[in-house]
């Protein structure tokens, strides 16, 4: 019995000792001291986990230290790739040492809306450095943002009005003026319904497109049939853009393009527009209209110096690749257009099924803008779709192309293309990481 008592007391002490703080180190990203030296760990690759888009991780690294012939497990090599997870999406826009994200705490397709400015800290981890509040519910928030210069940017601020464009200073993160387009839209379409019987907004401005060319800001105007699911009426077969003069921040006109309903994707930060070095502004429609009939995927433009669409120039993806094929990402580099195009018909109704997402292949194409019939396929492995990301970035005067592939055995990583047309494999990573965006940050 004595032995038992000793055992018992030891057991009781063990219970007590169990509570002694078992702190795990380096878990939380609490360091908010900004990084000062950007000579290393200045490239950032954002990835989504292959099994869920809810997990987005940022990896900072030094590009010169990467062996392009090695396949990296990014977290395993955490001395070379510093990982961080500030619980935001990988934003599309970035400049200097800032990345701008518009979604936080993702849960499927809902998330906390806001304008989150991310930066690297002194431990080379991404953290939320500053943020602007967007008081919108978490269903269908707009995620479009444009940075005009270091001191002026715009976003769709649905919390202060259904058709309000908000200006802000990206450097100071201070709000500027806002512009409500309601009266202008009413003048353009007097019978337009602005709200449904419950009060939900039926006209969204800047939810699909927000970009600029010269001193003009272009903002999509979407007339919804129902607020639910962002449904556009079948009878409306035009894409509308409001033209706003930036210096005076005033409305000029609304222009339209026939045969296209949508450009880009509502809940994506994927920027579906691009400007070439001549100043032409291109728009990429992947034909998506949720559960309604889909239009052919097209690329069209506003020529430099113009403020209306160029009716004489268009790329019809279906005519080049067959029915149901779509272009999902677009960019211009070296005065050529680069598109991410599906190999097979894109299954809109099941686009989020893992079987669709991981089964469909998309290839990378280069288009001659002077002769849109002239296009070539880049010698880059095919990837999975990139519905919520734009896979192109221009960094160090090169075009960087991310190749997301969730299925083991397929290439997942990063390629680059220089002005001479030289393609280079830059980074190969394991398939459990789907690369979504590539950034270079600096002072």
């Amino acid at each position: 019995m004595m032995k038992f008592k000793i055992f018992y007391k030891a057991f009781f002490c063990f219970l007590l000792l169990g509570f002694i703080s078992c702190e795990v180190n380096n878990l939380d990203d609490a360091n908010k001291i900004p990084k000062s030296d950007y000579s290393s760990f200045n490239y950032v690759l954002a990835t989504e986990d292959a099994s869920t888009a809810n997990i987005t991780r940022f990896f900072s690294f030094t590009l010169d230290d990467v062996d392009p012939n090695k396949t990296y497990d990014l977290i395993q090599e955490n001395q070379k790739f510093i990982n961080s997870d500030p619980s935001t999406s990988s934003g599309h826009q970035f400049f200097k040492n800032y990345i701008f994200s518009m979604a936080k705490d993702k849960r499927g397709f809902s998330s906390t809306p806001g304008l989150f400015r991310l930066s690297l800290n002194s431990s080379d981890q991404i953290f939320i450095e500053s943020e602007i509040f967007i008081g919108k519910d978490n269903l269908f928030p707009s995620r479009k943002l444009v940075l005009y210069n270091e001191n002026l940017g715009f976003y769709f601020n649905e919390d202060t009005g259904g058709q309000t464009i908000q200006s802000f200073n990206p450097l100071t993160m201070q709000l500027g003026e806002s512009l409500n387009l309601r009266d202008n839209i009413k003048a353009f379409r007097p019978d337009a319904e602005f709200e449904d019987e419950y009060g939900n907004n039926l006209i969204r401005t800047g939810s699909l497109v927000m970009d600029y060319q010269d001193d003009k800001l272009y903002v999509s105007v979407v007339f919804l049939k129902e607020a639910s699911f962002n449904i556009i009426p079948e009878t409306d077969n035009n894409f509308y853009l409001a033209v706003i003069d930036i210096p005076s921040f005033s409305f000029e006109k609304i222009i339209s393009y026939a045969g296209v309903k949508t450009v880009g994707f509502y809940v994506s930060e994927n920027n579906p527009t691009t400007k070439d070095e001549d100043g032409n502004l291109y728009f990429c429609s992947w034909g998506w209209n949720q559960f309604s009939k889909h239009d052919p995927s097209k690329v069209f433009r506003i020529k430099a110096g113009e403020t209306d669409f160029d009716r004489d120039w268009e790329i019809d993806i279906e005519s080049h690749f067959g029915e149901g094929r779509i272009a999902q990402s677009i960019t211009s580099y070296n005065n050529k257009l680069y598109l991410h195009i599906s190999k097979d018909p894109y299954l809109f109704t099941s686009s989020e099924d893992v079987s669709t997402r991981n089964g469909l292949e998309l290839s990378y194409y280069e288009y001659d803008t002077d002769n849109p019939q002239n296009f070539t396929r880049l010698d880059i492995p095919t990837s999975n779709p990139s519905a919520r990301m734009n896979i192109f970035n221009i960094i160090d005067d090169k075009l960087f192309i991310v190749v997301p592939n969730a299925i083991p055995g397929n290439f997942s990583g990063l390629y680059s293309l220089d002005r001479k047309g030289t393609l280079k494999k830059e980074l190969q990573i394991e398939n459990k990481y789907r690369p979504t965006r590539f950034y270079k940050l600096g002072n």
Binding site: N26, D105, L139, S228
Partner: protein, 796 residues
Amino acid sequence: MFRNFTCLLLILFPLLVLSQSTGVIQGKLINALDDQVENVEIRLVETNGKTLTNKEGRFIFKNLPPGNYNIYPIYDGFQFGIETIQIKSGEVQNVILHIEMMTYDLDEVRLKTLSLSEKLKNSAIKSDIISVETNTRRANSVEDLVDKSPGVKIRNIGGLGSTSNVIVGGFQGNAVKFLYDDIPIDYLGSNYGLTKVPTNAISRVEIYKGVLPTKIGVDALGSAINIVPKNINKTSGTVSYETGSFDTHIATANASIKLNEHLYFGVNSFYNYSKNNYKVDDLPYKDPNSGKVAYIRERLFHNAFNQHSLEFSLQAYKLSWAESIEFKVNSYGLKKEIQNDPFSRARPFGEVYRRERGNFIPSVKYKNHFFENRLSVNQFLVFSQIYFEIFDLAKNVYYDWKGVAHPTNSGSEMGNMLLDKGYLENNFKQFTSRTNLNYLINEYFQIENNTVFSHYNRKSNVGDLNLNGTNYNKLITNFALNSQFFDRKLESNTQFKFLLGNFAGQYNASENPLEENIINKDVVNTGLSFSQALKYNVNAKSYVRLSYENTFRLPEQQELFGDNNFIIANYELTPEESRNMNLGYTFAAETYGFEINTYYRDTKNLIRLKDINQYQATFLNLDNVKGFGVELQAHYEPLDNLRLSGNLTWNDFRLQSSNDSYENKEHFKNARIANMPFYYGNFSASYNVKEVLNLSTDLSFFWDYSYVHQYYLDYIEKQFEPNGFLGLFGNSKINTSRIIPNQQTHNFGFIYVRDFSKQSISFSAELKNVFNEDVYNEFKMQSPGRHFRAKITYSF
């Protein structure tokens, strides 16, 4: 708050010096069922006292003020006959307690049969019994008591009436079933939720891990919590009033009246109200000038809860045709303001609320014995109709965290288009029948059958395709053999459980909300569970338990039917299945005891919500999970009246595979289940200073400590987990803010009890989260910081 607390102490302490001459009850226990007389618990009702018998079966209660006392033994979880003793000043009263004696005046043979029958039924099943009655005087919630049990962790955002997620024995969510008096609790809505029901309203809580007793006819995967109401057996009553921080008020009134020798009338009622307006950190607030987000600390402003609950019962005993029959009517209503969506405090709501009401829920319970008490029959019938409503009526407005409304452009605050003009009503009708039969074959064998049939009908004001609502029938029937071998050293419970779920009706099978693909479906799900539980009594102080089961859980009606909009119905769901093993050792001595339990689970086809397109989701049979857990618990009484107790739980449940073959989840194979605490424990100390201060009344101080180890919100590959022992410390390769940090809370309080001849009055106060630590729920939403509760109870 501290000042108020100190004032209370100063007011109370003068009362403590009042002393008077006291008496003693001493006695001896005679056990006619078997030879064990040592370590049998003897309870003294009026002082809430308890003690264990010594080797000779003797026991003693000292320092008892003059008055009448009721005393009874508890043996193997069964309450035996009560003796009433009158104590006069300075007197020593001797009493003999008999284990075979019951309160009913039947002949001894039949009584012994009954006792044996009860003993056989529960002998091999592992359960933790939380005697709530002994805690009714504490300013404490049922949730707090359950949360201190080994292997249990309750996560909620705090506050009266909040929803909670309970983990028991490695299971969580719908895998853990709740019962009220052995019956699946659905028929009472959320009226008896752990965060709502006051301690005075119930008798005890039974927590089952692993094999469930036959009497509980539910399709749990391996864990269940049974809330047991108070029993009526004499004219008595209790009223209590509890108040606390955040404008919290809880009142209870319970009484039972003996109308005649056979008839008792009972009422059990409570009222809850709280503003729940505690302060929390890190609320995003838009600076009106810059538009920047500042994270502020502010009080919640739209989080109030109120609830009323009434239960009337009429019980008849010792009738010619029934040992007992009870008619009961429950009625309740509650309203809960909704401050934010369930997953985040990114945006507050200022006007959204939900309401729930069940106006008239009649039930009847019949109990009788036949064939010289060898056959027991227990029949329960209930019909309930409950209305669940959500109101989201504010248009073109959003609120900030200071409670100020701003104009915006929206049809509702939640942005939930499921509601029809901001209103949703679901009407649930339910009929449940439970029949429990057991037959004692001989002293060592008993057969038992328990059958629960439930018919559910759900009707919604939104998108219901079935004119008369959607129906769901569920039948669960158990057959069990309870037996004892080797002179009762080995006890056994063998069960076969058949489950049947049948639903029929129309549903929209289209994933396109603009199209309708109406399908008539008639689906039958079945399962056959098997379980074997063994208990081996090593000696009078220790025993070993071992159990195995292969069990199923039928899909819940909300998993099958969806919500007609964002959650699409899935009539193809199949039952979840789990193979569980449990092994435990218990040792109990006079002043100390300990228990080790381990469990292994292999669970397949876990039902999980999955996005199927940009806006919609459906429940699917997806994950397969395997793992094991260890629970340790101990108590120790180093001094008279000083009791220390603690428990510690470590779980290691890991994802094995996903049924979604296209999903690349291979890297998460063997990853710890995301967003689930895996290491947690409690430590408690209580000390009764009655004897030290030579008081005539009880004055106990207590301290409770709770620890939850940090855990990740997302899956983390096993290879990247912290590299220290059991993953509890060291370096992780993952840097993330998506983690719930270590949480430690301390509660401190006292109970003062003043007994009169036939009445008693008690006062208790408790300071919770004394050090104002940050505590979170599973979505990293902060729970209340330091707050207090105080309670006064009067019993007669």
